[in-house]
Amino acid sequence: MSTPFLSLRDLKVHFSTEDGVVKAVDGLSFDLEKGKTLGIVGESGSGKSVTNMAILGLHDPRNTTMDGEIVLDGKELISASETELEKLRGNKMSMIFQDALASLSPYHTIGAQIAETYRKHTGSSKKEARDRAIEMLRRVGIPQPDVRVDDYPHQFSGGMRQRAMIAMALVCDPELLIADEPTTALDVTVQAQIMDLLKDLQQEFGTAIIFITHDLGVIADIADDVLVMYGGRCVERGTKKQVLSAPDHPYTLGLLNSMPSLDGPVDVPLSPIPGSPPSLLNPPTGCRFHPRCAFAEKVSGGLCSSEQPKLEVTEGRGSACHLTSDQKRDLFADFAATRHN
């Protein structure tokens, strides 16, 4: 097998705070090929955003320790210098964020912000960069781009701002695009527009996309592969189809079960996951999900609370759980029945 385009090996991101060390990401590995979309699912504090800030090297080195390997197209990023990273950011890899209004500078025009990225990485003239900005705005579907290029972010609607963010992220034809909950703040009809746009652009440019979200519905729409994170670790990964229709980890199963659907039964209560997401300052011992897991008692010897389950991956599919596959087959059996009546 050739080397993957992006490869994370045992990534650890720890923050030192006044209260102690927060192990935001604690041993994460995955690969991503060009033209593919990896969906990372997780709740608040699962480490999904921290991972992606780490890929771009955006964590404050004063309170962050990073360990492991991040290799992008053959280049190791954790050991890379700030100048090297600056050349890659916005150029070979770029990022779009959830809150486009807060993430765009209120003091500069949309056009200036897009052009700035382009000039920084290509050294083109102001005129060329401006033309490029207009072209990008047209490409992401902003009407009258030659006029709107001089608008400020607050003059755009929510959907248009996110389009402008995408234009800014793609202005240098990056090979890796990290989208951190880009549609969470948007209305569903606008969300659908933005996801279509991302898919179209990916097809056109062959960009590798990491799509972070807490919404499994969005994952189902956009991802090829899925990685489920919990408490700073990957608990399950596989293709979208594998993860969504045959979940292999109690947490994934719990997430799917807790979501109401547009065609499921309505007169039964939802099946929530009890409890709350773990504290990363004092994570639970053993499997981090075990205090909330419905099946922890099924594993003999209290293994779940004493030993961290390993993530065994074969051909991109795997989960980190002490349950045997036979146990899972029995315990997860009614999953399909309850979801698609």
Binding site: L56, L58, R62, E82, E86, K87, L88, R89, G90, N91, S94, M95, F97, D99, A102, S103, L104, S105, P106, Y107, E116, T117, K120, H121, Y152, H154, M165, M168
Partner: protein, 326 residues
């Protein structure tokens, strides 16, 4: 923008009108009668009436106020002083000088003091604050923070006396404070005011250091700063083009107000260094029940604050495109 300026200027005029009326009313609410004081020890009712007439205070309060207002726009004739051209702020009860001329005489001192110290505290305060923000948590930041805390708890009269004693008398590093008009001798103007500038700006420097630091720290944690970094811009660019832009607004707001206050006279500083500015003039006017002079200095001080308020709002709109003037 023009509409904004017109609207705000009209508003400012109304505010000044209200302030002058208030001063008038408050002045007459005070128990002391200026005519009585001017009249002297042997004061017959006839002389008192004459003094009142001479001072222009022989009418009822509204009429007096009206006369005063009219004087501002069309000039005024006094029984004793003769004609006073518009804008006429009247004559001082105390020394019988025209108020406007006195203020014109004193204002350059106050203006020099205010502008000079503003330059000093902006450069040092904002500069140190930004440096502290860059070196957040490092020794430099801690030193700057503690030093500014100490400095801002000092009193001008203490620092002023100490500075004069050491810098001027003992070590002969700087000149003793005195005011020479800029037009007479810029060099003397500068050296004569250097000590007051440094002393007056000390507390401001400390405040601006702390304010700049906290604004920069806040602004550095904004999402758009993160985006700018994610675009590949260098720390430096992000710091000056993005974070500083966000921090500037609040600093300019406070600066405008501070400058407005300083132009109304820095009473303690002027007294400490025996400078004849608006501040001391106002103290004296209060002490001597000198209504016309008091009205004059109050109006100058109020106008400075009101005008700088308008300027601040206009500048804010220039910095932040989200602010729309109306």
């Amino acid at each position: 923008m023009l509409r904004f300026l017109i609207r705000r200027t009209l508003g400012a005029a109304v505010i000044l009108l209200i302030i002058s009326a208030l001063v008038f009313v408050l002045f007459y609410a005070a128990p002391r009668d200026p005519a009585r004081i001017a009249c002297g020890k042997v004061c017959t009712p006839e002389t008192l009436a004459l003094v009142k007439k001479n001072l222009g205070i022989d009418h009822s309060l509204p009429v007096q106020y009206w006369d005063w207002l009219k004087g501002m726009f069309v000039g005024r004739d006094y029984a004793s002083f003769g004609h006073c051209d518009a804008p006429c702020l009247g004559y001082s009860f105390q020394n019988r000088e025209p108020v406007l001329a006195t203020i014109e005489d004193r204002f350059p001192t106050t203006l020099s003091l205010a502008l000079g110290s503003a330059v000093v505290f902006l450069i040092f305060g904002v500069g140190t604050g930004m440096l502290a923000a860059v070196k957040q948590g490092k020794p430099l930041d801690k030193i700057a923070s503690s030093a500014s805390l100490i400095a801002s708890s000092m009193q001008i009269y203490v620092v002023g006396v100490l500075a004069t004693y050491f810098l001027v008398d003992q070590w002969h590093l700087l000149d003793r404070a005195n005011y020479t008009p800029f037009t007479d001798d810029p060099g003397k103007w500068f050296t004569g005011l250097l000590v007051p500038w440094l002393v007056l700006s000390l507390i401001f420097t400390a405040n601006y250091t702390r304010m700049t630091r906290s604004q920069m720290v806040e602004s550095l944690s904004e999402d758009y700063v993160r985006t700018a970094r994610a675009k590949g811009l260098s720390r430096r660019t992000v710091f000056f083009r993005f974070a500083w832009r966000g921090a500037m607004g609040p600093i300019i707001t406070i600066f405008g107000l501070d400058l407005g206050v300083l132009l109304g006279g820095a009473i303690i500083t002027e007294s400490t260094f025996s400078l004849q500015g608006i501040g001391r003039l106002s103290v004296k006017a209060v002490g001597t029940n000198d209504l016309p002079m008091l009205l004059g200095v109050v109006l100058v001080a109020a106008a400075a604050i009101v005008i700088f308020n308008i300027i601040v709002d206009a500048v804010y709109a220039l910095i932040d495109p989200r602010v729309r003037l109306a």
